[in-house]
């Protein structure tokens, strides 16, 4: 008995359990009744088992994808931007290096001599200041003491005790004349006369005679060197400050800073572009 295509379809679906309950019952009844259907069902079952036992082949290689396979590209703006910045910084670095080299080349013969002169000047000034400093300190100390003396003399009776030489001479003359007259009157010996005259002078001074004869402008003024007095103490150390200014010249050349910034920037942007490209690929 030859089976129709419909019979084969029903047997295939029955084998896989892909039938509704009504069709299933109907097909089961037919299989029980018809040996040809039983044989065909067994053949299909064995064929299915054989196909299910089909050996699995090993894959020849892994099929993992790369960005290039799926059309993933690195962000052109990002990578190109980094590369461009890196290139620009490299060119700038080269330019700065050339300028720096040219500058040092041009001033190569002059700069050392000039710097030596400056250094020598600075050294000599500082040495001179160092030598002058003790004398200046002494002068300043003397000036301070004289100044204090002058202040005390101007406002205190010490001025009376130390009259001017001219005034003292006048007083002495008056005293001598008085003393001569008194000596003549009282008969005092010449040896005693100076003491008497001195005493009389002291008396007259005590009476304020001498005071009246002294002009205010003739008060005692100590002799202070003009070079010391006229200059304030701070101005004394001006050369020293100049020396320090020379020493405080910055030691890092701006060219060096610029070179370091450009070099670091060029390197950083170059590495960043390379890393992005490597990660994307």
């Amino acid at each position: 008995m030859k089976l129709s295509n419909r019979d084969w379809v029903q047997l295939s679906s029955y084998l896989d359990g892909e039938m509704n309950l009504r069709e299933l019952n109907k097909t089961e009844e037919r299989i029980k009744k018809e040996p040809a259907l039983q044989l065909a069902l067994e053949e299909l079952r064995q064929t299915k088992i054989t196909l299910r036992q089909t050996p699995k082949l090993r894959v020849p290689h892994n099929f993992i994808l790369t960005p290039a396979m799926v059309g993933l590209k690195t962000s052109p703006l990002q990578t190109r931007g980094y590369r461009l910045v890196s290139a620009l910084m490299t060119f700038l670095l080269i330019g700065v290096l050339v300028l720096d080299f040219g500058r040092s080349f041009v001033s190569g013969s002059l700069a050392p001599a000039a710097s030596k002169e400056v250094m020598l000047e600075a050294i000599s000034d500082s040495a001179a200041d160092a030598l002058e400093e003790p004398a200046l300190m002494e002068a300043e100390g003397a000036m301070e003491s004289d100044r204090s003396v002058a202040e005390t003399e101007a406002g205190a009776p010490l001025v009376e005790e130390a009259p001017a030489p001219q005034e003292a001479a006048e007083v002495m003359e008056e005293g001598e004349s008085l003393g001569t007259a008194q000596e003549a009157e009282s008969g005092i010996t010449e040896d005693e006369a100076p003491d008497t005259a001195t005493n009389q002078t002291d008396v007259q001074q005590e009476d304020g005679v001498a005071e009246e004869q002294m002009a205010p402008s003739q008060t005692f003024a100590p002799e202070i060197p003009e070079s010391v007095v006229s200059q304030p103490p701070t101005s004394v150390y001006a050369p020293d400050e100049e020396t320090h200014k020379i020493e405080r010249v910055p030691s890092i050349d701006p060219f060096r800073i610029l070179e370091m910034i450009l070099g670091f920037g060029a390197l950083s942007f170059g590495i960043a572009a390379w890393l992005i490209k490597r990660r994307k690929s």
Binding site: S12, T47, L51, T54, R58, P60, F63, L65
Partner: protein
């Protein structure tokens, strides 16, 4: 380890490494499907690679459900494209050379070398016999029988993958099985014991 749904989510976010993990999980299934449909190792490898590329690009069209079915549908389409391309431009397959320098005319170079020689031979011959019979089926019949009987999918999945009605799948599968049964009777000595004696009574 991440599950499949997490890998799909990450792949959708552009993480190619996650999709490569999916590929490693499914590449054996996909390659065997492609090989059984096309019948040539190189073409199957090309179709498999194209299928994965296409799957990555169309991953946003995956709406849940069986990822295996979704992937096998893409593979079937890739195989069909490869099948048509090779039909227009027939190529002579080049197999790697064996130990004696002669070209190997089978896929035995893909098989497990740790297997016993007699088992390897049997497997190789059975595989070749099945492939021989599959190659004689029409393309659509072949696709359906591979999906159902080799990959173990149900009719609904096969219908979804091949984009054919359920009735069409049923009838084509029945015809394919009948043809395969008749073809395999020519390789009785390779068949399992039950199938050797079927029809002899």
């Amino acid at each position: 380890m991440m599950d499949l749904q997490d890998q799909i989510k990450k792949s959708l976010a552009g993480d190619l490494e996650s999709f490569n993990q999916i590929i490693l999980s499914f590449q054996s299934l996909v390659y065997n499907q492609a090989y059984r449909i096309i019948g040539e190792p190189d073409a199957a490898a090309d179709a498999t690679q194209e299928a994965f590329i296409s799957a990555y690009k169309k991953l946003h069209t995956y709406r849940g459900g069986s990822f295996k079915s979704w992937l096998l549908r893409i593979v079937s389409n890739a195989c069909y494209d490869e099948f048509r391309r090779r039909k227009r431009k027939p190529v002579v397959p080049l197999f790697p050379k064996g130990e004696e320098g002669d070209e190997m005319d089978s896929v035995s170079w893909l098989e497990d070398p740790s297997e016993k020689p007699e088992d390897t031979l049997l497997r190789k011959e059975l595989s070749e016999a099945i492939q021989y019979c599959l190659d004689r089926l029409e393309y659509e019949f072949r696709t359906i029988v591979v999906l159902v009987d080799i990959q173990g999918l149900d009719y609904a999945s096969a219908a979804e993958i091949t984009d054919r009605p359920l009735g069409t799948v049923k009838s084509r599968l029945a015809r394919a099985r009948t043809n395969l049964k008749n073809c395999l009777q020519g390789f009785k000595e390779l068949l399992p014991q039950g199938l050797r004696h079927v029809g002899e009574a």
